[in-house]
């Protein structure tokens, strides 16, 4: 039997962790939780989630730190950044660090679930093309 995709939720707000777990499990996903970047890195290495929902502003190691370490280790884990930082510059920074999608808080639960499903079903090449297209759209100079 094919196992359900595994989603790692990283956020320092317990409310958000709880909420996302309920939504994702209702859709049949398996969920893992982390409240800081350090834990997130460990769980990514040990439990190999299929997709990571990553907050940015966190204690110890923040979301930027997690993205940087993932790209340093050549990880192919798919990452959706979920942040209350809504500036274009933050979106560009996340995409440049290798995130595949950027969703701003507050998020629409139904739309977020669609994004998760989309990221999980796309081929790596499609995801990369989508990331570069969005990056180009936000900063035509680069």
């Amino acid at each position: 039997m094919k196992r359900m995709p595994r989603v790692l939720i990283v956020d320092d707000e317990p409310d958000v962790l709880l909420l996302l777990r309920i939504e994702l499990e209702a859709e049949g996903y398996e969920t893992l939780l982390a409240a800081d970047g350090e834990t997130a890195m460990r769980r990514i290495a040990e439990e190999r989630p299929d997709v990571v929902l990553l907050d940015v502003m966190m204690p110890v190691v923040d979301g930027w730190g997690v993205l940087r370490r993932l790209s340093d280790t050549g990880s192919t884990t798919r990452v959706i950044v979920l942040s209350a930082k809504a500036n274009d510059s933050d979106v560009v920074r996340a995409l440049e660090l290798g995130a595949h999608e950027y969703v701003t808080k507050p998020f629409d639960a139904a739309a977020l679930l669609l994004t998760v499903a989309h990221v999980l079903s796309s081929t790596p090449a499609d995801l990369e093309a989508g990331r570069l297209r969005r990056l180009h759209h936000l900063s035509p100079a680069s």
Partner: protein, 507 residues
């Protein structure tokens, strides 16, 4: 053509010097020498003829026998002498005219040099706005024009003290201070009149005169005045080989006029630039604040909107539903607190005067500690002696609550409150100490700024709490600062005036 030029041309024509528009003095001298040589030869020949004529008497031979020839010869001699004398008169007049011209040319070229130097300074006034560069240009142009050995520009640092900011030829005088009224520059600053000193300066006239090495034989000192505002003094000096005159003093005076204007402009520019920098910084902080506010408001809204959506979309168990409702309320309260924080700052900036009265420090601290204990936070209180401050009780409580709250959020438990007398009992210092990571030195200067948040801070907040503390304390006649705590952590200090009603200094 000027009249003296026409005279020159006419005289030159008379003496046969027409090769050049203006003959040189040397050419005139040569012509005079030629004239007298010719005169000498001719007169010698004529004299010889006359002698011959006289000595031969009746036995005279040839031509000299005839009376008309003799008379003619005498007349010719006289005519030639007249001719030579006339030429000599013209040559002398020409010499005088040429000498005059030479003097005029020299004066003109001096004036040109002076003008060129003034133009340089004028350019500096318009283009260079860095005060050090402006001073440098003024001083070096003045020294070059006057052929001086050295000099300095001293600026008025405080109303009664001059400081040497730009010095040439006397390197150890750089930065020297001189009270107004002492020494030559101090005397000039006091009198506000240009001064020429020929010969060694008298010790009687100038108080506390400092001897220079090599000794100064001649000096000029002029005040730098901009619209009757004394900015400083410009000094130049020379050794034994140069002696300044009233003319030099006038030239330096012109310099000083330009110099004072350019110094005033440069100062104005620097003040404006500082102001602009300040505004830019405030603007940057405001942008940062808006980003922070947006982030801080979005965080509770994320929970609220998320919970509501899930409640609507999913069939949830009863206890989860209750949890969600509680979350919504809690996050709603958090949103409200954030808004109140912003309003508090707005209010403290425009609130009417605070009402200060005598407040027992121990009471105020105990009150805050009790309130924190109700929240499950442990606050240790230490007071040395019975201390009272003159403060607004509500504002003081607000200040202490903000600081203690800040200590818990960034430093963690336990937090200590400490009070001690300071400044011989005139002030009272209340300190809030935590055991957190402390504040990076780079952030210390701006922790109390509006909208400022530490670079490493991840805890929620808009960066207004400490700004509010600072504003409130300053409005009560006190001040705040932050230091590193021995053994780790941060120490925030509030210093308030001690109450005059009762001052006790612990021994």
């Amino acid at each position: 053509m000027p009249a003296y030029r026409q005279d020159l041309a006419r005289e030159a024509k008379v003496v046969g010097l027409r090769d050049f528009s203006t003959p040189s003095l040397e050419a005139v001298e040569r012509r005079r020498w030629q004239l007298w040589m010719v005169a000498f030869v001719v007169m010698a020949a004529l004299s010889a003829g006359l002698v011959l004529m006289a000595s031969s008497g009746a036995t005279s031979v040839g031509l000299f026998k005839h009376l008309p020839v003799r008379v003619g010869l005498v007349l010719l001699t006289m005519a030639f002498a007249l001719y030579v004398l006339e030429k000599e008169v013209h040559l002398r007049r020409l010499t005088r005219l040429l000498l005059d011209e030479r003097v005029l040319t020299a004066a003109l070229s001096n004036r040109l040099k002076e003008l060129a130097a003034l133009v340089t300074v004028g350019k500096a006034v318009n283009s260079v706005l860095n005060i050090t560069q402006v001073l440098d240009i003024i001083l070096s142009s003045a020294l070059e024009l006057l052929g001086a050995d050295g000099g300095s520009i001293m600026l008025l640092d405080s109303p009664d003290e001059l400081r040497a900011v730009c010095v040439r030829g006397n390197s150890h005088a750089e930065g020297a201070r001189l009270p107004v009224g002492e020494g030559i520059a101090g005397y000039v600053a006091q009198q506000r009149e240009p001064l020429l000193i020929a010969g060694p300066a008298s010790k009687e006239r100038f108080k506390n005169l400092v001897a220079q090495d090599p000794p100064v034989e001649s000096a000029l000192s002029v005040p730098l005045l901009n619209r009757d505002d004394l900015m400083g003094v410009l000094n130049v000096h020379a050794g034994a080989d140069r002696s300044f005159t009233e003319y030099d003093l006038r030239a330096l005076g012109l310099f000083a006029e330009h110099g004072a204007v350019s110094i005033a402009n440069a100062r104005l520019f620097e003040a404006e630039r500082a102001h602009v920098d300040e505004l830019l910084e405030l603007d940057r902080m405001k942008s940062e604040f808006i980003a922070t506010v947006s982030h801080e408001l979005r965080t509770p809204l994320t929970s609220i909107i998320g919970c509501v959506q899930t409640l609507q979309r999913r069939q949830l168990e009863a206890d989860v539903r209750d949890d969600f409702l509680m979350t919504i309320e809690r996050q709603g309260q958090r949103l409200l607190r954030l808004i109140e924080e912003v309003l508090d700052v707005q209010h403290s900036a425009s609130a009417p005067m605070l009402e200060t009265k005598t407040v027992e420090v121990a009471d105020a601290m105990a009150h805050v500690a009790r309130a924190q204990q109700a929240l499950g936070r442990e606050v240790a209180v230490r007071v040395s002696g019975a201390l009272a401050v003159s403060a607004d009780p509500e504002a003081l409580e607000r200040v202490l609550i903000n600081l203690v709250d800040n200590a818990f959020v960034h430093g963690g438990s336990p937090v200590e409150l400490e009070a001690a007398a300071e400044d011989d009992g005139r002030m009272v210092r209340v300190s809030v100490l935590d055991h957190g990571p402390g504040i990076p030195v780079s952030d210390m200067a701006r922790v109390f700024d509006r909208f400022s948040r530490g670079a490493t801070v991840t805890a929620p907040g808009m960066g207004l709490g400490l700004y509010l503390v600072k504003t409130l304390v300053e409005r009560q006649g006190g001040h705040v600062n932050v230091t590193e705590r021995l053994g780790g952590g941060a120490a925030f200090h509030v210093v308030l005036p001690a109450s005059r009603a009762r001052i006790e200094v612990p021994r």
